[in-house]
Amino acid sequence: MPKFTRRRLLAGAAPLVAAPVLGKMTLGSDAGAANRTLQGHVHDHRSAGHAAMIGQNVPAVGGPRDLDALLYPPPPLPYEPGRIREYEVRARDREIEVAPGVFFPAWTYNGTVPGPVLRATEGDILRVNFTNAGSHPHTIHFHGIHPTNKDGVFEIVNSGEEFTYEFEARPAGFHPYHCHSTPLKKHIHKGLYGALIIDPKEPRPPAQELVMVMNGYDTDGDGANNFYTVNGRSFYYARYPITVRRSELVRVYVANLTEFDLINSFHLHADFFHYQPNGTGDYREYTDSVMQCQGQRGVIEIEFANTGLFMFHAHQSEFTELGWMGFFNVVD
């Protein structure tokens, strides 16, 4: 766009001036302009906010069930001593579509960002066979209690190599996992992270369970995110609301793996929920908003009292408007 340097200097003189006559001649009066703008606001509802951001109009990638594997965790298994839970995880480079027509050259676990939802019951032996089919050295670092030589920090798995992480799953709760190769920031924001649910030996009450991993994508490499999502695609749950039943327990495992930003958050409209930080301990917060630093996570439990569309989003407006927004469709 044209920028006239000398004229910009000239523009600096303007506040000194009041020129009603000229103003009238050149603009047809400011008041007229303001009126026109106001009328525009009154008569023009085409751009009316959130109504434009639900259903068909929402710029979101893909079909209605594309993210089911990330949203719905594998079922919990009752405690059984000595059981082995085995998972195959493969790191590979893959270009993913994060918003319609916007492609991000991601590093993935099993081809998706976030990676697969892993699940074990406390006391199970968790065995994760990791293959690095990507172009850079990677690891998997699990949050939890385990031997340091299974921590995914020193045991760098080079391209084409394999490594098996094997340890007892504990403590019960909800934990993230992510790559711990350096440069750390790069390896995480490229997409190498996911969620691990460790069920307590004493099982939680049955519920409709959901997993939401909050993340962001810095698609132009300037150290700031251009898109925010849960489970990897911006505005996906605004395009395809998550259907749940009224008066039945809904349990949402929420984790924040957003790089670059200090915090992320989850806010629910029109109802309150109980929040258990890390999915551990007895402490519950009764709230409609939770804030998480990168790597923080927790478990939300709620029985919706009403039916209808319940919005959820980050309570950072910026994140909301860059894709981290969706709806529960609560039905009878």
Partner: protein, 397 residues
Amino acid sequence: MEAKAARRGELSWRLWALVPIVLLSLAVGGYVASGASLVDLIGRNPPQADEFDIRRVQFERGQIRIRVTNPQQDDLTIASITVDDAIVPFEVDGPRTLGRLRSSTVVVRYDWVADDPISVGVTSSSGIETVEEVAAAVETPGANAGAFLGYAIIGFLVGVLPIALGLLWLPSLRRIEQRWLTAFMALTGGLLSFLGVEALFEAFELQAAVPGALGGPGLVLLGVAGSFLTMTFISGRFSGEGGAALGGVALATLVAIGIGFHNFGEGLAIGTSFAFGQLTLGSFLIVGFMIHNVTEGLGIAAPAADERSGVSLPRLATLAVIAGAPTIAGAWLGGFAANDVLAALFFGAAAGAAFEVVAEVARYVSKRDPAGLRSGYAIGGFLAGIAVMYVTGLLAA
């Protein structure tokens, strides 16, 4: 016989002139057909920047229109649009995937807030976001009669009127001594040099902001050389066969044309800046421009003062229009159809025209005045011209 052979020889040499072209086509074809294999021998081309050139952001009732161009070699696809860092639904008037130097207009339904700063971002399919910060969202004037008239009045006030006033110095100038007339002629030279340097600087600044494929200092040179040579041609016509130095009304006309070029650029700048909300027009600013431009009238009057037969009033009016009216045309163009490439070209042209007229004035003074360019009057006048422009320019700052 001999003539025929000579003609045949001539023909074959003409044909021979085609040989390099044919061979070049073959070489180019061969290289293109080989794909990128030559580059692979050396290394790898870096990826393209995938940035758009945002040419224009227009604010209309309930919507924002963003004109984007693909400045790079590879295709670029408009994938996502943000306004103030928020993703917004949008429509594209034109193709979504843009070939090299192709443009489309993105239309966003948006309740923008008048007078607030606002930014728009265009994200390509590779996720690269090009952001344009707008200092203040102001409804873009449509090409209606009111705005048309408004720009015309501004152009008249800052262009035609002050120059006409400056020309009123003509009777006084006619009565002064030759050495003082020389001083005023040199003053004209100083004024024009100042305007030329300023226009040149502006042209280079504009050129630098234009995306690589369209910009380049050569664009400015094209403007400078184009107007300089056109003016040289015109002055040649005026002076006739003899090639004598121009004087009197002819030189005054040339000065008026040179100043007209400059004022076209000035009008363009005012119109564009106003249309983009970068310039607040107020009486102080207008007055500043008027005082600044009165000196341009003086510049035209000085050579005209030398006309023995006297200058008719209609002729003077014509001179004022030649020098001042382009401000109006420039303001119209800038306000309704600004284009940074054209703007860089016009400012270059303004510089070229100014420099050509300075050369004409110098030629005139050196022939006309026995003391020539080395006299204190000439030197002092020239420096005074620059100083006057600088000082009156402060009024408009």
